[in-house]
Amino acid sequence: MTQRRTLPGAGRPTRRTFLAASAGLGAAALAGLSGCGGGFGGGDGSGGGTDLEFDIPDPAGDFPSTDVTIRLVDSGDTKADFWNAFAEAYQAKHDNVTFQYDPLPWNRIEEVVPLGIRNNSAHDLIQLPGNIPLSQAVSEGWVAPLDDYMPDFADWQQRFPDTYQVEGVHVFDGQQYIVPIGTDQRHFQIIHYNKQLMNDAGFDPETEPLTWDTYREAARKVTEQGDGQAYGVIFEINQPGRLVQWVEYMARMAGLPIVGNILQPSGEFHHDSDEIVAAIELMLALQQDGSVFPGSSSLTAPECWPRVVRGNAAMVSAGPWVTALWDRDEPDFDFGVAPLPFPNENPWPPGYVTIGGDMLTMFAGSKVKEVAGDVLGYVTSLDGQTRWAENAGVGNPPVLAEAREAGSTDYSDQAKTCLELAEAMVGNPEPVIANPDVALVTKHEQPPDPGFADVLQAILVGEVSDVRKALREVKDRAERARDEAIAKAAKVDGSTATRDDWIFPNWDPTKDYTIEDYDGR
């Protein structure tokens, strides 16, 4: 390592050899995907719902008999609770197997997985980071097909929902390469609030849901009563990707027909739509009221949550993992969860991405493929999924709906509410299911820089005077980038994707978009 690239005598290698942790940066790349509640077959293993024992089936086929180690890497957090419990049970069942689990934040995974692949020392089971599209991993031969390694594979194919066996997304050339364990049918912007502060201000979102107006009012009241010690809301302005999602949820509830960031049926980007502007203006209004926790500009999401616990802020919009976290670590804290404030009487339900949430692939260079397959087989069985629900908690609901139900019997009230909120969401259409070549376009796409998140952050820290103009500029840049990417993909990879692949004329924003609907486009 070249020493000179550091400060004189400094002990710190430079950026290229040293990557500093960034608290929660890039979190939202949870390529959330999950099937809609499609059919599920009867799983193997007992349907023992509340039983905390792992009922691991005996392995099929060529399970190794020598001492082996299997390694798994994913983004950790609440999933760690499952994997740690599973590791114990699995090692008890197979005493020649050591199960090694490595939770890492996304920015570490992005660095470490590519290098591990180069080195042939990558983990056996990997949760792919956002910078490695699966299609690329398959074409480069980094990941192996699972068909031969998962026990009773034909059986699995039958009982596992079809939405997770999509050609071009999970399946390539007829073989399955990736397996989702968790669904992305979860509400990422649930209002978690400090009951004491809200009740003192006279609000009870659990019985009377908030509207945009009462939300602002509640924030103001709490701040007023807080007298400098408590504020109405806290926003993770230094993690603006999440705030973009907040804005998009709010806009969609207000009736903006967006699938992801594309307007339907025009196929244009959504950035300068009225509803988006309205949502942003609501945020700005909260700021002007003085209801936003001071210093939010430099906070990331994990830095916001403890403030709510301490009573310095009343409301934060967070994913269900925070419920799981508080249930586990803050048993004395009385908090409530509620949906985002409604813009009108009949808000549209928020949409979720259907191709799967927490997903695992198998490294092609793995020496314990049979073990990996066995693990995957168990984790996607009903028993495994139920255990997942029980251990990982409501932050990562399992794919199989039956497991969700069975595993949630011991959930706290707040967690159950989170599940309800998730159930109320509808599955979005996915362009890549309509035309797998969309993945090629995404590979070549260079999103605008600054993007929507950056612009939103700039708006919120006061750097932008004309909000609409800035949004229009982002939109124009996004349009250009997409057109260029489509052209480049066609030229370099022979892609057949066009702008039309992002348009779904038969989409109903209040209903799930099912597999059949794709055929009817």
């Binding site: 390592m1 070249t2 690239r5 550091t6 400060l7 004189p8 005598g9 400094a10 002990g11 710190r12 430079t14 950026r15 290229r16 040293f18 990557l19 500093a20 942790a21 960034s22 608290a23 940066l25 890039g26 790349a29 996304w106 920015n107 992005e110 660095e111 590519p114 692949i117 980071p129 956002g130 910078n131 690329q136 480069e140 302005i237 230094n238 926790f293 001071p294 210093g295 939010s296 500009s297 430099s298 990331t300 830095e303 403030r307 310095n312 995404t442 590979k443 070549h444 796409e445 260079q446 999103p447 820089d449 600054p450 993007g451 950056d454 952050q457 700039a458 820290v461 006061g462 750097e463």
Partner: protein, 329 residues
């Protein structure tokens, strides 16, 4: 075996003469030198030269760092870098940051070194260690601690400033885009001043005590002592220290990344952070080739800047000695 005798050394035996026989002789005489150089040079070639040259090659490709083939694109990346507005913004920020942080840090460090150079101060080891503490701390924790200390809601920094009456409303040090860069500069100074202090101490230590004694005997005041003895003696070191510190500051990365991640709204995105974003952004395919090119391009501008500085100092030194010459007559 014959080795170069000190006498040979002093007699200027390193003047290259033209005749090959003498050269071969000298090479043979110096063979142990080459042996001694070998381990260091091998390690250096492997881990400094090879990666550097490799990275230059990467900068000419369009590569994401992941795929197996690199597409050669020639100077396309560099052309893009020259026209890259984000890069130039980061560039300007980086130089502004350096221009402010480095002088402040060096002056503070020099002052501390002067005070702690005093051999009669028994606690000096303790004091020096305390100043040095920030230098050896893991940067991640510094980022976390500083953002807690600086937060406007209940951070101690704001609390103290309010109590002292220096401000009447809490200041969002890391969240206000106008302030963030300077707050980060402040933390930078705090973190690295100890290292500069050590360098100054080393420089000061080379001033022989006898000179100070003589000055004291002659009845010089402190200030005269410093001006006429300390300053001239440490000037050559000063040049080197300033140069190295400037170059190092221009390359700051881990500290800023862990405190603000370049935010808010890019207010603290220094060049190295921008490069990191290019190489490791999560939302789209990373562009390692381009990131490399930006890095090399930046390095070249730093090099030019350094050379200009050295040249400038030489000119100033020449002028100064001219002045001295004149005054002496």
């Amino acid at each position: 075996m014959a080795m170069l005798r000190p006498a040979e050394r002093l007699a200027g035996a390193d003047r290259t003469s033209g005749s090959p026989t003498t050269l071969r002789e000298r090479l043979w005489n110096s063979r142990w030198c080459y042996v001694f150089m070998l381990p260091s040079l091998v390690l250096g070639a492997l881990f400094t030269l090879y990666p550097m040259i490799s990275s230059w090659y990467i900068s000419f490709t369009d590569w994401s760092g992941l795929e197996s083939d690199k597409r050669f694109v020639g100077v396309e990346n560099y052309r893009e870098a020259v026209g890259d507005a984000a890069f130039w913004s980061a560039f300007g920020r980086t130089f502004a940051f350096t221009a402010v942080a480095v002088p402040v840090m060096l002056i503070l460090a020099l002052f501390a070194a002067l005070v702690l150079n005093d051999a009669s101060l028994r606690m000096r080891a303790v004091f020096r260690t305390m100043f040095f503490l920030p230098v050896v701390t893991t940067t991640a924790i510094v980022g976390v601690v500083m953002s807690l200390i600086m937060n406007p809601f209940d951070g101690p920094l704001n609390a103290v400033l309010l109590d002292l009456g220096l401000i009447d409303r809490p200041v969002d040090f890391l969240g206000d885009p106008d302030l963030a860069l300077w707050s980060v500069a402040g933390v930078f100074v705090w973190k690295w001043m100890g290292m500069s202090m050590i360098y100054w101490l080393v420089a000061l230590q080379t001033v022989p005590q006898e000179l100070y004694e003589a000055a004291r005997v002659d009845g010089c005041t402190r200030r005269q002592t410093h001006r006429h003895i300390t300053v001239p003696m440490i000037t050559p070191f000063a040049v080197v220290i300033i140069l190295i510190t400037f170059v190092g500051a221009l390359q700051t990365f881990p500290l800023v990344q862990s405190m603000t991640q370049g935010g808010p709204a890019f207010a603290t995105e220094l060049v190295e952070l921008y490069i990191y974003r290019l190489a490791f952004a999560a939302d789209f395919t990373p562009r390692l080739g381009y990131a490399s090119a930006v890095a090399v391009f930046f390095g070249i501008t730093v090099l030019i800047f350094t050379l200009a500085q050295v040249w400038g100092v030489r000119r100033a030194g020449a002028m100064q000695s001219d002045v001295k010459e004149v005054n002496r007559r």
